[in-house]
Amino acid sequence: MTLTITHGEIARLRRSNPEIFRRPLAERLREWGLWLGFAALLAFGLWWIDASPLRIWNGLSKLGFLVVLMIPPTDGGAFLGYCYAMLETLAMAFLGTLIAAVLAVPLGFLGAKNLVPNRLFHFGLRRVFDTFRGIDGLVWALIFVSAVGLGPFAGVLAIAVGDLMVFSKLFAEAIENVDRKPIEGVRAAGGSGIQTMRLGVFPQVFPVMMSHVLYFFESNVRSATILGIVGAGGIGLALSDRIRINNWDEAAFIIVMILVTVAVIDNLSRRIRMRIINADTGRK
């Protein structure tokens, strides 16, 4: 019957079900409007940043030239120095994450609305947590270098301050998600407020917190590699120096070092996270 279809039949179907052939005008307008708006904004943005084809072309050829200069990467005899700088980077990430995590535990407990049921207080604290997230880690580093001087110490503080509020928020959320029964158990057995938290809440949220902390450690290793660019210690200082003096093969060497280190840290941290999660579910 329908394997071949006549024009008359199409016309009939089109009359009875026009929107199968053409979607309603309002719907089409909305979709076109969205796409046009997106395209217009993109075009405006490209115009603003002056992304002319000629510039792209020139940039590309210069970039190709740079890549040629980068090969082969060499350490310029400073391998041990780079290794030490890399250690400094790892140390900044480690200490910064640790300090932020330790300080965030009490803040997290304060920010959890099931433990501190004051709406206004809760709302205010959460806004403070959110506010600090709005500043990039590099800006913090810049400020701390100005405040306490050049060196890795400024980097540690920058990472700690940048993460403190995010941790507090994540910890507060983890605490809000705890199972109520063990808490009531401890309370019923006559536990004090502190004891309730230590015995009823902490065992539940600890694995969650640990996995957040490890995840942030990974991401902080990445960000710590560049803090040196503003003078906050670590491998970033060496890298920006090599780039500034056009020493591209050594810059390439440092970039490769960063890639390898990040890959190794990611791998290790992923394994530990898996262990924690497995141990956690294994116990249940």
């Binding site: 200490l95 800006v139 970039i255």
Partner: protein, 303 residues
């Protein structure tokens, strides 16, 4: 390890007391093993802690001296606003508001264009990087490594390189954001793809669809809400990132913030930082609302 195997071997033929002692021995060895691991982890942690403190010049005295300094610095950036002369003081504090707003718009645009360009590249690279969508192992491997490279090299390093190749200004920053975004969104998109329902893929293939058609008709419709959600999240992150790129001369408000900090223009620092915080907060809240709506819509019109 060997001890445990032996006791396990003896179990069937043993008496009650033998079984109990075997169990106790097993329990003790398991507990010892666990203690060993805990000690090992503890030792590793301590070593890392001590090593980090040594390497990073971190000390309590440093902290005791440094923290008040940092606090004084932050307090010093705050303007002196008096109630009697509030509006004039405010105008004084935000003397450069027109210029800063322009830079703020530039920062947001950088975030937007970088996310859009990077997202488009991610959209093309995510299909060959999905295990379930590609049979050719070589193509899969290459696209995965490429995405990994894009997202592991820090954005700021790309920015440094692009500033050198393309000159100072936001163009270099946008490219740096785009490359990094392509890497991170590409990986997330590929993960979304790997979790879709395979049946529509088979349906479209059986109807005679080419690979590209299968991607367009069977994969994209399923994955699109997640793409959009991740894209918005990345946009939030990129606006924040764009505000820092100015430090290496790659455009945006970071450039002015950098100058203010370097030249100790204290009140400018707080003025710009507050603008930045407000902007990112507004963008975060807007994007979060849209994301919730995307997910909510999905829940109401389908399942």
């Amino acid at each position: 390890m060997t001890m445990r195997a032996e006791t396990a071997g003896k179990l069937p033929a043993s008496t009650h007391s033998e079984r109990i002692s075997a169990f106790e021995e097993h329990y003790r060895s398991a507990r010892n093993l666990k203690r060993l691991w805990t000690t090992l982890y503890g030792a590793l942690f301590l070593a890392a802690l001590v090593g980090s403190i040594l390497v990073s010049d971190f000390s309590i005295t440093g902290l005791l001296i440094g923290l008040p300094k940092a606090w004084n610095y932050i307090a010093g950036t705050l303007p002196s606003l008096s109630l009697s002369n509030f509006w004039a003081d405010l105008a004084d504090w935000y003397w450069g508001i027109n210029y800063w707003l322009r830079l703020l718009v530039e920062t947001i645009l950088m975030g937007f264009v970088g996310t859009a360009l990077g997202g488009i590249v991610a959209l093309f690279l995510c299909f060959p990087a999905s295990r379930n969508l590609i049979d050719n192992t070589a193509i899969y491997f290459v696209s995965r490594r490429l995405l990994e490279f894009f997202r592991t090299v820090p954005e700021l390093v790309f920015a440094l390189i692009f500033v050198f190749a393309l000159g100072l200004g936001p163009f270099a920053g946008v490219l740096a954001i785009a490359v990094h975004t392509a890497g991170s969104l590409g990986k997330l998109f590929a993960e979304v793809n790997e979790n879709i329902d395979p049946r529509p893929i088979e349906g479209v293939r059986a109807a005679g669809g080419s690979w590209a058609m299968i991607m367009r008709l069977a994969v994209v419709p399923q994955a699109l809400p997640n793409y959009a959600s991740y894209g918005l999240l990345r946009f939030e992150i990129n606006v924040r990132g764009a505000s820092a790129l100015g430090i290496v001369g790659a455009g945006g408000i970071g450039q002015d913030l950098y100058v203010a900090i370097r030249q100790f223009e204290y009140t400018d620092i707080s003025a710009i930082m507050l603008l930045l915080i407000a902007t990112t907060a507004i963008i975060d809240i807007t994007c979060e609302t849209i994301r919730h709506r995307l997910i909510g819509q999905d829940l109401t019109t389908g399942h």
